[in-house]
Symmetry: C2
Subunit: 564 residues, 2 copies
């Protein structure tokens, strides 16, 4: 490729060490990340500083983001930040009958580039994204409603980690089979049979990424990079309220592909008009052979049932449980839980919803505590955490959309309110809807309460469910995972028997379990290269981030064998 | 496990070297097999000799094969050999409401055994199967109609190879993630965050193997062992005409599981009454979370659409093509093709059906050959191969069922017959239906002929399709793979351009390609540990034997993390 600005050799030389470290990290699952999570680590070596990131974001407002895509028949937009500002950015609207064929044009060259060069190009894209982390952080903040620090960390380095992790898995999976082999089968006294064999990973076709509102990059990058690294073109269909982070991502990907001598149309954006619902149309196009989706159970189930021509990876709703039985660090437990319930106003797929607490109370290092005392203690811990408005704003972020606000307000009517949600004013964004969580007492023995705690109530709503015993809690945990799915389970217990019972439930129902977290790690956070996000084995998600199954079926291996 | 006859240590010590060799073979894809394919290699070290295998099979005839399964409510059978004899063996018929719960009872212990011990138990099962290879060969012969040598090789060592390959892939996939990890995240001047993590592979549930008539063991073992090695219980539902080989397999598996201290009900048989069609009922049971199926496209499509609670792996029908453009070994090509068309009367999913030959002829090392000359040459080669009845019987085997015979007879009316099928008498089995293949000339430019060559005509029927050019052939090849699927593609060409074009079609449509085979390797044969069987990327099959994707989603990994 004489005309490329980035030579294949340079790309591989630059990124191979990082790829190797990622491969080693997923093998050991020790802590590792190449992406700094301190805001001030940015601003040198071509990366945007905090201030430059803000300026870059401000410069985008009110502009047309022209990606140079073929088949653009309109310009669409309309994002309004949960913090109140109108972004005013417009994006290309695609005539998919033009765009999809254009996306296929460069696929043979991308396929022939092979796994290592594809991985290097993906890492170059991630590197450029990393340089613009602070710009993307503002884009994530003003589409998801996350507070800035979280938008920066979760939308920046942590999302990039998950993208890199997917590239590492994809690379490994493709090179498990050698590119060539000689096969010699002895035939006794006759000459052996000899074949030369070539094995080539081939893409499935065009992948469709259907983005979500709350974590457009964190939930989007794994599928995007897994598909691209395995040779597929990727069409990115963002959530209509969270277009900008993925549009910027697509822009960077197209720039890098061009510089590396590949067709930029291997990655394209499909923005839509309000209410157009193009995901439903795109998902069943014959060109679309892979779909990654994060969002509602209803649409996830629809995709699984209808997009039969595609491999479909879904993350849907679930009901996350915390079982509280006993602890040797009562204050640590309450503080840890308070943080988990408050972070991003509980608008995480991993936020605990149901806290199962024995009605006869629990044992702690501070003596026995009644159910009421535990709930009051948790309320107090939340209040302490969020008592200061500046700190509350930095933790809570804004309510992402009116549906969440409505659910929050309705939750207070579901039972006795142990901690009432309160409004918090945002000094910079007066229109932002900022609310502390609500904690509602329910009774696991009352059939009327079951409808509440057995449904996902996405947002800052937690139910303190009184249960008869730890065994009763384990049964309810099992039923909840089996029927509703769970992205996370947590438990607090000093009893080996209870621990074993909870662990057995999680093993049998395939849910990820965090035990006795009382410090600075929270049940709703997972670390790339070490923790699995979801299990793929219960109704909350049909795939985990990230494992072999997440990448292995995004490509196929074609063998060409010749008589030697 | 004090009461086991086989200790865990013994099992692992015995089988770990073989597992390691299998892991190395799938990595290099060089020739390897631990299972001898010479009949006389058996008879020592506990394996049945040819004569003892025959005696063991004869002793089974007319008996009840009691597997000691719970929930047995009837005894069913009725297999009649394609060679004419009634087997008279009866098998347990299951009350699945009793059997399925019983199969779950031992799953936690099997899960907790871990990947290495499970692999060792699977290899012990395969070893015991290997010892009874000659008994199983008769069972395969008298259910599939394969000739003895093929029933022995394909149904014995080659099937065992594919089972072992699946165990190796399953083992590797499960141990990619370590059992434990310590995760330490620096926090600047503060203490680091430290977690200890456990990662455990957990099964999906009960796997259902739906066996086929023609290769009950070869097509059955990969799914059976992939599911068992990943911790699932396996319910084996054989084809009603080919129960015995899989029933014997289940019996051996149950014996080994018992001796190793596990619940024998982890593997069970579901035989059925004539016309009962239990696969349709079993496939949608909520306990069934994995299905492996080989058979018709109609039922495979039904499974994919309806068994939504399960991971479904299907091998369905396809139309296999040979593109003949030029050769530097004309006789070798004709002899190789003649063998491929004749082996097991073309009743292989990998047998070529459409031979695409330019109407203006081809170039060869014996000078140019017209279309008619090539077809006549092939007919002559088939005649030479099958002219001797003893040799013909040894190659062809028997027609497996009346449908195949009917298709064979109807094929003669589809076009000009270049080689007429003839009846061959079998000296030992006068009732066996033995037929040589039919070769019918068709014209790729005639719309009337298209219906014939664009449908799968399973059995000893080949179409010599006249095409306009090599480019025309490549187009037809592409259309055939895309619309009908293909397990195999072969091409004969000395032109680099044609080779590149055919290769590009196979890469884009995901089909496995054999080039210029003129010796002792045939397009319809694949070798475990080296060749992929199917690609999983075209309509003939949604999975390949065997790759990471075949095993990675049969289990999930559950993580338990604790604050250190």
């Amino acid at each position: 490729m004489a005309t490329t600005e980035l030579t294949d050799h340079e790309l591989i030389a630059t990124h191979r060490p990082t790829l190797d470290q990622a491969l080693e990290a997923v093998r050991t699952r020790a802590y590792w990340s190449p992406h700094p999570e301190h805001a001030k680590a940015y601003g040198e070596n071509g990366s945007l500083s905090v201030a430059d990131g803000k300026a870059a974001f401000d410069a985008l407002l009110g502009t047309r983001l022209d990606l140079g895509q073929p088949g653009t028949d309109d310009w669409v937009g309309g994002e309004v930040s949960p913090y109140g500002i109108e972004l005013g950015v417009t994006y290309p609207h695609a005539d998919v009958d033009v765009l999809l064929p254009a996306m296929r044009a460069g696929q043979a060259a991308w396929r022939d580039a092979g796994p290592e060069l594809r991985a290097a190009v993906c890492l170059e894209i991630l590197g450029r994204i990393g340089d613009r982390t602070h710009e993307l952080a503002h884009a994530v903040m003003h589409t998801s409603g996350q507070a800035y620090l979280m938008a920066f960390q979760a939308g920046g380095p942590h999302a990039q980690d998950r993208g890199l992790e997917a590239v590492a898995y994809a690379y490994f999976e493709q090179v498990r089979t050698p590119a060539t082999a000689e096969w010699t089968k002895p035939q006794g006294k006759r000459d052996p049979l000899v074949l030369t064999k070539e094995f080539k990973p081939v893409p499935r076709g065009i992948a469709l990424l259907i983005g979500c509102n709350t974590f457009p990059t964190w939930n989007g990058y794994p599928g995007l990079f897994a598909s691209l690294a395995t040779g597929n073109a990727v069409l990115v269909k963002p959530h209509p309220r969270a277009v900008l982070p993925l549009a910027l991502t697509v822009r960077i990907a197209r720039e890098v592909l061009t510089e590396a001598g590949f067709d930029p149309n291997l990655v394209a954006l499909a923005a839509e008009r309000p209410g157009e619902g193009i995901a439903r149309t795109l998902a069943v196009r014959p060109e679309i052979r892979i779909i990654d989706y994060t969002g509602s159970t209803a649409f996830g189930d629809w995709l699984e049932a209808n997009a039969r021509q595609a491999q479909v990876y879904t993350e849907k709703a679930g009901v996350n449980t915390v079982l509280v039985e006993s602890t040797d660090d009562y204050r640590g437990m309450l503080a840890n839980l308070a943080f988990s319930l408050s972070l991003y106003s509980g608008q995480m797929c991993t936020t605990p919803q149901n806290l199962l607490i024995p009605r006869d109370g629990i044992t702690t290092n501070e003596g026995p505590k009644t159910y009421d005392e535990v709930v009051a203690g948790l309320a107090k811990a939340v209040d302490a955490l969020l008592g200061d408005d500046t700190r509350a704003n930095a933790l809570l972020g804004a309510i992402v959309n009116p549906d969440v606000k409505a659910r929050l307000e309705a939750a207070a009517g579901l039972g006795e309110v142990a901690f009432a949600s309160r409004e918090i004013a945002h000094p910079d964004f007066p229109e932002a809807v900022v609310r502390t969580p609500v904690i509602v007492k329910l009774d696991g023995a009352k059939p009327d309460d079951e409808a509440a705690y057995m449904s996902e109530c996405f947002g800052p709503v937690s139910f303190a469910v009184a249960v008869d015993s730890a065994a009763d809690a384990a049964d309810l945990l099992r039923r909840t995972i089996r029927e509703k799915g769970a992205m996370t389970v947590a438990a607090y217990t000093t009893s080996q028997d209870v621990e074993r019972d909870v662990e057995e439930v999680c093993l049998e129902e395939a849910a990820q379990l965090s035990l006795n977290l009382t410090g600075g790690v929270y049940v709703n956070q997972t670390a790339a290269f070490s923790d699995f996000h979801g299990s793929g084995g219960n109704p909350a998600a049909n795939a985990a981030l990230c494992d072999g199954a997440f990448v292995a079926n995004r490509f196929r291996v074609v063998e060409v064998r010749r008589q030697a």
